[in-house]
């Protein structure tokens, strides 16, 4: 899409789990202000690739460049420090806590002044920031003080995405953000992804659902058996082409 250098570039990354070659010299890149759909069959290596970028797995070979610089991501904290945020499929929300508490989990703000001595949480400030963040993303939640467990699947997904933005990342990795969502909720989440792109973030979206991917992605990268098996301009290709790349039915589709 964009002509400038990629924000995140995965260069020939391999990862082996015992006898299983999960990633085999996979290549992949994302620019700022771009949504990349990462698709592939079960076991194609999508999740492994994302976990490698997120610092959960360390690659056996190949390398990752961020902003053109070669980086080593060996822990999740490394990824976070670079500005890579990940939203996993299970969302990792505490259903017993409210929206504000979930958003700020692990980075709660403490009151200034007298409140700071008693280590009092600055609830008002956190709620205010939550309100600003969510309204900036046009996310509507019935009550910021309601338990996250009471929210719909789409709202929970939006809360999880919004939380990942608190660290002001430059790349957001979304693992199956629309799985198990209804039509209206999927539309909400896809809208949110578009707004992330408008903010200039690089978005990587893993999905099984090609309709959703075509709906929102600028570029589609196909993984097959741990290898990059095709890269498509979402505007210029059809679902059939992508499917045949996923299944390996037509190996001529390799790149454009």
């Amino acid at each position: 899409m964009t002509a400038d250098a990629p924000l995140l570039e995965v260069d020939g990354v391999s990862k082996r789990f015992g006898p299983v070659q999960a990633l085999d010299r996979a290549d992949f890149e994302v620019h700022s202000g771009e949504v990349v759909g990462l698709v592939g069959d079960n076991g194609a290596g999508k999740s492994t690739l994302v976990k490698t970028i997120a610092g959960i797995h360390s690659p056996d070979g190949g390398g990752i460049r961020f902003d053109g610089e070669r980086v080593s991501i060996s822990r999740p904290q490394d990824a976070t420090a670079l500005g890579i945020a990940t939203v996993y499929q299970d969302l990792a929300l505490c259903d017993n806590l409210d929206v504000v508490a979930n958003l700020f989990l692990g980075r709660e703000e403490v009151s200034p002044g007298a409140g700071g001595v008693s280590r009092q949480l600055d609830e008002a400030r956190m709620e205010h920031q939550t309100e600003e963040l969510l309204s900036g993303l046009a996310v509507t939640i019935p009550s910021l003080r309601g338990e996250v467990g009471t929210l719909s699947g789409g709202q929970r997904q939006q809360v999880a995405v919004a939380r990942s933005l608190l660290g002001e990342p430059r790349v957001v990795l979304l693992d199956e953000p629309t799985a198990a969502l209804g039509v209206a909720q999927t539309a909400q989440v896809l809208d949110l992804i578009r707004r992330l792109r408008e903010r200039g973030l690089g978005v990587v979206m893993i999905s099984h659902n090609l309709v959703d991917v075509f709906e929102v992605a600028d570029r589609i990268v196909v993984l097959r058996l741990g290898r990059s098996a095709g890269e498509f301009d979402a505007e210029a290709t059809t679902e059939e082409h992508v499917v045949s790349a996923i299944t390996g039915a037509d190996s001529r589709e390799k790149t454009q």
Partner: protein, 401 residues
């Protein structure tokens, strides 16, 4: 905002149905228990009109202090979704440490108390460490603790098996009553403090640009607290006066509720109990939180044990034994702290102790046997746990796992 988002916005439920739903699903479990407590009081009052007398209510307050203090620590462990079976034994051991140091070794009473509390804290931290370091279920670690600390109690007490406490500083903990004047001053301070907290909280919200709570709500809350405080002090004053023990229990309830609800540490306790994986990914030090929670449980058990000894004026081989442990765990659960972790509040320790204490006290007044007492208390606990489980099932059915 696009049309799609607009149309997909969840309709906000009306306040009435929302309150009703939460009541059924157990978010307002505490209110349900307050109603239950009222029913219990009415039943006993109709059976024996001395039940609600100032003298008996003062006795009730003194009876629940030790269990209530121990339950505060239990709540922290329950919030993690864990359990501490050793709190009874720890309370007995800590009391024995205080008694032996003070009576046999002539230690200054305050130093002896500090040593007793430190014993409880060290035990709690040790158990928390064993639990989180080796991944042994907390049930097993603390069950082993239950046995070991009971043995330690016998060891510390030595051949005498019983020690009478004469030091007025120690016995004074459970046997000091303040004059009417002091009682009213405390009441005024409590009300002023609460009103101040509500006002400051409101100011801060408005200053940050958030919608403040309505004036009616604030006034209602302050009025409610004021009314309860005044009634309680009036009742206590018409008997022996405000007991020091109650003051200390309430101070711990308020302080530990503050820690649980208003501090980062407390937030992390709820997070670990709610979804441990989410807490870990949020960078919360799970082990640190666990060790601290068990440390608090041990500390509060020791403090409760020292109050029990102060009230009994002695420590013996049964200290911290029999039903104390079960009541200390049953109380918060009856009052709405979930055994499954992540849900509950410190003040359920007080509410639960009141429920159990009222049942026990009322049946004593009716001269019912221990057999009946145990069976009724057991029935109430079972009922409470079933209600908790049903509330959980309904949350799950509603997609709120």
């Amino acid at each position: 905002m696009s049309a799609a988002t607009e149309s997909a916005r969840a309709p906000a439920p009306s306040p009435h149905t929302e309150t009703l739903r939460r009541f059924i699903q157990g978010d307002l479990a505490s209110l349900r228990v307050v109603l239950g407590l009222a029913v219990i009081w009415i039943i006993f009052q109709t059976q024996n009109d001395r039940f609600l007398s100032a003298e008996n209510l003062t006795n009730l307050m003194l009876q629940i202090t030790a269990v209530g203090l121990i339950s505060i620590g239990v709540v922290y462990v329950l919030l993690l979704g864990e359990i501490d079976l050793s709190v009874g034994a720890v309370s007995g051991l800590a009391a024995a440490v205080v008694a032996v140091l003070n009576v046999k070794h002539g230690w200054n009473p305050y130093l002896a108390i500090v040593a007793g509390v430190a014993t409880g804290m060290a035990i709690g931290v040790l158990q928390g460490f064993l639990f989180s370091r080796f991944g042994v279920p907390s049930f097993v670690v603390t069950l082993a603790g239950l046995l070991a600390w009971q043995g330690a109690l016998l060891q510390v007490l030595g051949s005498t098996g019983s020690l009478n406490i004469n030091d007025p500083k120690i016995t004074g903990l459970a046997n000091t009553f303040y004059s009417d004047t002091v009682g009213w001053i405390v009441a005024a301070l409590v009300i002023a403090l609460y009103a101040g907290v509500v006002l400051v909280g409101h100011r801060r919200r408005v200053a940050t640009g958030l919608a403040g709570e309505g004036l009616a709500g604030q006034v209602l809350r302050v009025a409610l607290v004021a009314a309860v405080t005044i009634v309680v002090v009036a009742i206590l004053n018409s008997d022996r006066g405000l007991p020091l023990a109650l003051l200390i229990l309430l101070a711990f309830i308020v302080g530990m509720e503050y820690v649980a609800k208003r501090t980062r540490f407390g937030r992390h306790i709820y997070a670990v109990g709610g979804n441990i994986e989410a807490a870990r990914r949020a960078g919360i030090g799970i082990d640190r939180v666990r060790v601290a929670a068990f440390g608090i449980a041990g500390t509060m058990a020791a403090i409760g044990g020292i109050f029990a000894a102060s009230r009994l004026l002695a420590v013996n081989q049964n200290s911290g034994g029999s039903e104390l442990l079960l009541l200390a765990i049953a109380g918060p659960v009856i009052a709405g702290t979930s055994l499954f972790g992540g849900r509950g509040a410190v003040w359920t320790a007080l509410l639960g102790a009141l429920v159990i204490g009222s049942i026990s006290n009322g049946m004593d007044l009716l001269a019912l046997s221990s057999a009946v007492k145990f069976m009724v208390t057991g029935g109430v606990l079972l009922l409470a746990v079933i209600v908790d489980a049903i509330a959980r099932q309904q949350r799950q059915a509603a997609g709120r796992i």
